[in-house]
Symmetry: C5
């Protein structure tokens, strides 16, 4: 371990008072309560459409996710403006909000992936949100518009003391030719970008090691042969003073999920953002699993 | 029926006072009067040109549609700025206005469909309108510009307490490859997007079930074999706390139209938006049919 | 004649006071004086370059056209900012001004025709103009930028009480495949768009009936067999409460021109906009012909 | 000579006070002193890079051109923001400044030529400049952006009383197919555009008559067989109330240059803008030639 | 040596007070202390991703570079917003900051290279920075957007008295066809552009002479046969009153690096900007080498 590495804390990140108030609320007053973050997202349904709701028809109704976030006492729920404006009033104060402020559908080609703003930081302020969420497609040919848009969001976040959570998705033909969107190279770059762009929190995928594809990545990534959890540990360090969240992705078995929780926490991440793995099941099951995850997180 | 589903009402949608005042006017003071909406649109003539007026030459003159809306006591008339600014003064107070604020002609290719603003929310305020209408081409390659433009319109609607009605049209090569613009998949996605983007009301087409084409839709849509009315019921639920309007499309027989009314209402929609089916006939006939439709709507 | 058609008048168009003052000045204090409009344009030289001046070398000097507009007491002169700012001071109060505020050269390809702003509505106010002129290329692939730009100009016109004159030119490959830019279909659509976009006055070409090409137009235009003057009558009605001006186009014989005047007036247009037909001849001849045209117009 | 032509003077151009003060300073207090303009440009080095400095290494240092402009008492020096901000303080009051406010390098393809703003009219005001310079690529496929940008610059010039000098360069494939960028057709169109866009002064090239290429120009240009000086006379008239400057282009012999001066002045131009012909020689030679040119100009 | 060349100094560059205060701090209160600049950059990791950190794992943590900048008393550290906002608080006052305000990743194609803003000049003011850094891709097909963006940054710098450091990178197919990005031609043009755009300081690469490729450059560059150090001397003069920094590039041996220092200083540059050559080694080694470089710089 380098002498120069400091784990990010609310004390050493150069945070403004407003950011600190809001992050503290999610990290200590909600969620596992020990400075860790457990986030429940439904923002992805802008990108997927309603296909994800069929395994659990209740999940089609945002009331379900809000209820789960409240009873499971998640750190926050993450969703787009419409679902906040239409439902949050019944859960005001009970469920911290991460307002996702950009998005797109997955219907047309993803070749020049770019997510337009669906709301503003000021909208988030007005809704009493505790953070905004932004998706950056690292490596997309449209990166110039994306970086510029994120920089403006970041300035607004600074102005309003609003924490900025960045979903960093490597995307585009170029990254596919360099090992793919879930490679160590791609995610390590994304984590660094998160810190460079001044994200307070970043959401990434758990890296998938694939020696065959990794050969196409730039040196030295092309030659490293790491386990995924070791790669994740390095990614957490590349993110520096940006908190890292690992996403759950599509649904897997409970034991695999809990294993993912433990490996992620061991690697030093600050939290988890699990959507389909939680709400693609009945409320009772979802609440039970939530408790097991929070327990596992409290061990770190 | 899921425990988590609530039908949208003026009470549970998180509406501002201004939005509520204006929606109430259309839903209870005009139209069927029981909280349902019956809208008369002529906005589509920006997109079609005057071809639709030939079956009933009187219909070429906006005076005709205004007269019909007034005597038939429609919930509102929907049209573009020019027709409001030049004719509404004679019907002020009698006919609520949904100002359609974006549009395009159908002359050039539709491949990258996008409708520019033809007016602003502030224009609507100045004209005493009770809502604005916006067309989003879900799935068009130009979706990034479209979503960003809609988000700005939505912010202005929030600022002015102006209800937002969104015409959600799936459009573009990609959707045609996934079952087509009128498929359950396409319209279900559109309905969800309506809610995610915070539309108060959304206008959709009645889904057309075509097992041959639906095979190309993503799972599980590719395997569902539903009747259209059952698909519509699910679409209404995907729209959540956004009121759904079913459009009439091109002219059909009176009995087919009334059948459409009943099936739509049974599926849980809040209203109907019928243009050519109403004004492509003589005034007297149109008024009679309007009464039959309103009667049918009052049964729900 | 439909009961629902009203000819547009200053009383029934929903005009603001400022628009009414300025239109009244052009329609009753200048020109034929009976509510008709006779406009002298030189704006087209931005689009053509100086080629049009060779038949009458005097015409190269804007002083010539201003002199003609003053002595012939035209309703207004229409030109771009430079010619207003550099010459109008000598004719201030004598010649009403329609400031043309967008344009382009005809040097590069017309395939994506779009005319950028060369001046603003505020410029027109500052120059004491009585209207602004705007060219919309109906059906161009660049229509999204064009419609958006026109909508902003229209909002400024509303703000300043400035009448809006729209030059509606069907343009682009798509319209050529549907009968061509001078077909009844194309011009009828343009006239409707004029009203939808809230133009106070619109300039169109006299339709050319060509059964061979019209077959490619959408139904029912593909099957109509009308005389040009009858088509024009219908176009005037499609324009509704927007005054219609017929343009002269390239130079024709005096008798043909006067025939065009009579046919146009019979069809119900409000005015004429004749440029090359007037100023491609000596001053004396131009003034004589002007009187003949005004006399012909006064008969309606 | 047409009765309708007036040579432009400070009296008849409709100038604001601020424009008149600044033009007077350049036309009567500096330069030949008789209402003519002799401009020294180094702005072209943004477009060329340092290649032009090799014939006279001293010319690489802006101090050289400033010194020449001061001792030769030029009407003004024309250059970009950096050279003004870094050197003008030593010559403040001695050398009037035309701040060139847009530019580009010649490294990438010129096919869609467009010069972005490198400074603003307000920058020019702050630096005490007596005019701004703007390059318009007449006929470039990017003309829509160019015309719009120029219109905004023109509005700022009106606001600040700042004279506008436009470098009109015909450019692009289309103009090359119609006789080429230096043809009478191309430059005559450019001169008209200068007046239409409200330039106070325009810089053009001396036309090159080439019967072989001119055949491709539009009628009647394709059939005219004029001497260059006669073409220039007509171009000056096409520019109307915009002063015309003829540029020197690449270096030619002193006698050819003086011949160009005389032919230009005879054709009615208001001034000359000579760069490389002046500063690609030693200071002493440059000053001597400057005097000969000013003497030649004073004869008109 | 030309009589017209003046080396740039804080006295003769036309600087505002604010720019002078900030440049003085970097040139005399930090760094070698004799008016020279030694800059430590980590901004390039936005463009490279974390690959550069593998040779020295400590370097992945910005704390390392800050520590090095502080103990080695560099003139300034150059980095993006995130690394400033999250770490500078611990080094406030000890390490002057050059805030790099635009960037991009190197994942997608570089064919139309353009770096969007990642922060604003106002951000730099708020952070107490002593300069901003901007990358211009000279010769990229996207130069029109780049020049316009730089001009706006420059205006903000003037407004706030913030020195402007421009990273001038020749880039794109066109420059590769004219000798390449590191040719004398390319860098000489870049240096001139730095001055024309009013950069206070510019960062360039040491030119690489390659007679084979230089043949493709424009005359006279195609025929010059200079040593690299002589080319650099001319480049420094092309930059005029803009201070020149030479960059280190990828890591080379200590003796080669010191040789580069001496050759650069002899050629008249004002400073050096060495990143990987410094921080791709242990802290102790880096500090020792820093001292040797500063000693070498103090000899000039």
């Amino acid at each position: 371990m380098s002498d120069y590495y400091e784990r990010p804390t609310l004390d050493n990140m150069g945070l403004s008072v407003g950011k600190r108030v809001r992050l503290h609320r999610m990290m200590y007053e909600h969620g596992p309560g020990n400075g860790k973050l457990l986030i429940l997202p439904i923002d992805q349904e802008v990108e997927h459409g309603p296909v994800d709701f069929f395994p659990n028809p209740d999940s089609k109704f945002p009331q379900f996710q809000y209820q789960l976030a409240k009873e499971g006492r998640y750190s926050a729920i993450a969703l787009h403006y419409g679902l906040a404006a239409k439902y949050l009033h019944s859960f005001a104060g009970d469920v911290p909000l991460i307002l996702k402020i950009n998005g797109k559908t997955n219907i047309p080609s993803d070749a020049e992936a770019f997510s337009s703003l669906t709301a503003s930081v000021e909208d988030a302020v007005r809704l009493g949100a505790d953070a905004v969420g932004y998706t950056l497609y690292v490596g997309s040919p449209a990166q110039d518009a994306d970086i510029a848009q994120l920089a403006e969001v970041r300035e607004d976040c600074d102005r309003f003391g609003m924490p900025l959570v960045v979903w960093y998705y490597p995307r585009g033909e170029a990254i596919e030719k360099k090992g793919g969107r879930d490679s160590f190279y791609a995610i390590d770059y994304a984590a660094r970008m998160a810190q460079e762009m001044c994200a307070d929190v970043t959401k990434i995928n758990f890296p998938k090691m694939d020696p065959q594809r990794d050969k196409d990545a730039p040196e030295p990534y092309s030659e490293l042969e790491l386990r995924g959890s070791e790669a994740l540990r390095q990614i957490v360090r590349s993110a520096g003073k940006t908190f890292v969240l690992v996403s759950g992705g599509s649904k897997i078995s409970d034991e695999d999920l809990l294993q993912k929780v433990r490996e992620s926490m061991e690697a030093g991440v600050t939290g988890l953002i699990f959507g389909r793995n939680m709400w693609q099941r009945k409320m009772e099951d979802a609440l039970k699993l939530t408790e097991r995850i929070k327990d596992a997180m409290r061990a770190f």
